[in-house]
Amino acid sequence: MSSTTNKPRTADEIGVPDHFPYMHPVMKENHGNWDWHERPRPGVLRHISKSGDEIFTIRAGTQRQMDVFTIRKLCDIGDTYAEGHVRFTTRSNIEYLVADEAKVAPLIEALGEAGFPVGGTGASVTMISHTQGWLHCDIPGTDASGVVKSLMNYLHKEFVQEKMPNRLRITTSCCQINCGGQGDIAINVQYTKPPKINHDLVANVCERPAVVARCPVAAIRPAMVDGKPTLEIDEKKCVCCGACYPPCPPMQINGADSTKIAIWVGGKHSNARTKPTFHKLAVANLPNNPPHWPEVTAVVRKIVEAYKADAKHWERMGEWIDRIGWNRFFDMTDLAFTKHHLDTWDGSRKTMNASSHIHF
């Protein structure tokens, strides 16, 4: 068979392509020469160059996982109402670039009619950054697109207006690797049971005890079951991190009932005001409940509403909590503070209060 197939084409190692051929001409001309910007309305940015040129950006939400028909529809809108140049934000919103202000209103209308919400700028809740989940990852504890769709249905109203104290960035991760990253609110899978080892899979297949080295707490050790070499887990030691599962499928960490959702708050990427921070545990053990994850949405709603009502203008979630104190945060959100909120990992001492400062 191989004699009849042609030799495969040799790849052209292009690497990262040049972006200028795709960039809006006004952006190309004013590259590095921008002066200031404003937001005439939610979802619209107006950037003014030192040359006096202007470019309008109209930002709209997408489902990120897009079929070609959706993409073509976005392109049709871009050709009819905009100027054929678009870009995407880190959070999968599409941005249309137009130099002509007269095009802004009809474009917004066309996007609205086609079902793409315009917003996600400034002090709004923008699209949730998310990963692959059941649709495409090989280790997920939950779905990603579904959780996000359910939450964005509820958060849609905060996407299309700028009524939050500051921007609110939500992320999701469908395993504890946390691809979704840090967030003001992070909705992450939390395993609650040690992996169940599938001894049939292990027996005679595995010769690589390196998985033992994968465990951060040395909970995995070689063992014999039914006279065959396999592994066992010290369940008292295991912290249910799931690190052993990606390299070793027999380490079955996911379970319909044991895979839960935890919600974290106060992560921040930007350096504005306070230094970047990691998110902190708010609540764990929420059920992984497709297709709507209502328990997750309910907690997110409480946190969003408490932040919106109480934070000062420009305070991010973590900065707000720093000011009001964690006891008020748990009060305002009706969440419990438990022994599991006390960090026990390396460096945990640095997360404790070593002062007489207390909040009431």
């Binding site: 084409r9 939400g61 059941w134 504005a272």
Partner: protein, 433 residues
């Protein structure tokens, strides 16, 4: 699984999998990925339609069982060792058409700029060779062309490659980088993000396409401290724009801002929120900034976009060692190069050379499956600095050490180096030169 048995009449005719749980996700105001998947399933005469029917079936199966059903494997294109994420179904006997559903990670233009023509060409290619499902973009920064059979992987790549695009990173390799919109549209930008991005990645393509590093290595480029691509949290090597002269103030526009927003509001949202108390509002509603105390956090500039802007003497900071949870816990990058001028060709060349030094250090010293941040923790920052030829700097720390358990008998020699460096920076001649 019980639900799969109750196939309604319409589905029986067309062999369509019922998707009652996914159907729920077609409601509500946010665009629905499920509706999109169904459009692909229902595309008349398209070869991918049966594949998408089974994909929907498998996804519904996951929703019912609360479990994922994909496993990895090995699939690649001719000449490359990475860039394709293989997915084989573990429930292929139920859903045979989507038994292979691989992803091609394709590197987008920096700043994610597209023309509608380009997007249409990508759609056409993915209809011909793939499933018609594309994500803009994965968390890795790639365009995710999802849903390719093993057989179609090569022709799909060939077509995308001929369009001018290349595979990104996967596995223990240099990974796809990301940069913010920056100079293309943002007045806060302090360097040419895309230039640094392309310069570095395209110099080390071999490390991307033929994985041979101890583990992944990621670069990210943000034009200023707002860090719109989350570089500090997510990149092994984060390049963040900054400046070292004074913030530029247009006092007339400061006054306009105060007049428009109010004095109390300006004090509450600008003066009081400066992290280093570097700002004061004068009695005549002009601003005074204590620039040596400013840490370039961007806050005041974000609030007063017209009145304030970064200085003229621009460059970058480099922070090394950020990563996500697995397995020592999340790490943020540590400040390694507080300021590097980035202006001339030589400046960019210097940044690329420093990147090369760091990748080489990583290749030579990291243990298998260790990110560079973990390597630094294991050997200590002084050893890392020594290896990459960087001198210690107070900007690297929140505060000097608090533990006295350290051997300091060469303290005087180290101090001499510091004073020598300071003298050289001040333009003095150093003894013996």
């Amino acid at each position: 699984m019980k639900d799969g048995d109750s196939i309604d009449d319409k589905s029986k005719e067309t062999n369509q999998h019922p998707t009652p749980m996914l159907d729920e996700l077609e409601n509500g105001p946010w665009p629905s990925f499920v509706t999109g998947l169904k459009r692909l399933r229902d595309a008349k005469g398209e070869t991918y339609a049966p594949m998408m029917n089974d994909l929907l079936g498998q996804l519904e199966h996951s929703y019912e069982n609360r479990m994922g059903f994909w496993k990895g494997g090995t699939v690649s294109v001719y000449g490359y060792g990475g860039g394709v994420i293989p997915r084989f179904s573990e429930v292929a006997e139920k859903f045979p058409e989507s038994k292979e559903f691989h992803t091609l990670r394709i590197m987008p233009p920096p700043g994610f700029h597209y023309t509608t023509d380009l997007l249409r060409s990508m759609c056409d290619i993915w209809e011909r060779h793939g499933s018609g499902l594309i994500a803009f973009h994965g968390q890795s920064g790639d365009i995710m062309f999802q849903g390719c059979t093993s057989e179609n992987t090569q022709p799909a790549f060939d077509a995308l490659n001929e369009l001018g695009f290349d595979l990104g990173g996967a596995g223990p390799a240099l990974r796809t980088a990301m940069s913010c919109v920056g100079q293309a549209r943002c007045e806060q930008s302090c360097f040419d993000e895309a230039r640094a991005h392309r310069g570095i990645i395209n110099r080390f393509l071999d490390e991307m396409h033929r994985p041979s590093l101890p583990y992944k290595f990621k670069f990210k480029f943000s034009g200023c401290g707002n860090d719109c691509v989350n570089a500090i949290h997510r990149a092994d090597f984060a390049v963040i724009g900054t400046w070292r002269d004074d913030i530029k103030i247009d006092q007339k526009k400061v006054k306009e801002h105060v007049a428009e927003k109010g004095r109390k509001y300006t004090i509450d949202t600008v003066v009081s929120m400066c992290p280093t108390r570097a700002i004061s509002l004068n009695d005549d509603d002009t601003l005074e900034i204590d620039n040596p105390s400013c840490v370039r956090c961007m806050h005041c500039i974000n609030v007063m976009t017209k009145a304030l802007s970064p200085g003229d003497d621009k460059g970058v900071s480099v922070m090394i060692g950020g990563k996500r949870s697995l397995k020592v816990g999340d790490l943020m990058g540590t400040m390694i190069v507080p300021f590097m001028k980035l202006d001339t060709d030589e400046d960019y060349e210097k940044l690329e050379e420093f990147a090369e030094t760091c990748i080489e250090f990583f290749a030579d010293n990291a243990l298998e499956h260790e990110r560079v941040g973990e390597t630094i923790d294991r050997i200590g920052l002084p050893a890392f600095l020594d290896a990459v030829g960087v001198e210690p700097d107070p900007n690297m720390v929140n505060h000097p050490r608090t533990s006295s358990y350290v051997r300091t008998d060469d303290f005087d020699e180290e101090a001499a180096k510091w004073f020598e460096r300071k003298a050289r920076e001040a333009g003095l001649t150093v003894a013996g030169e």
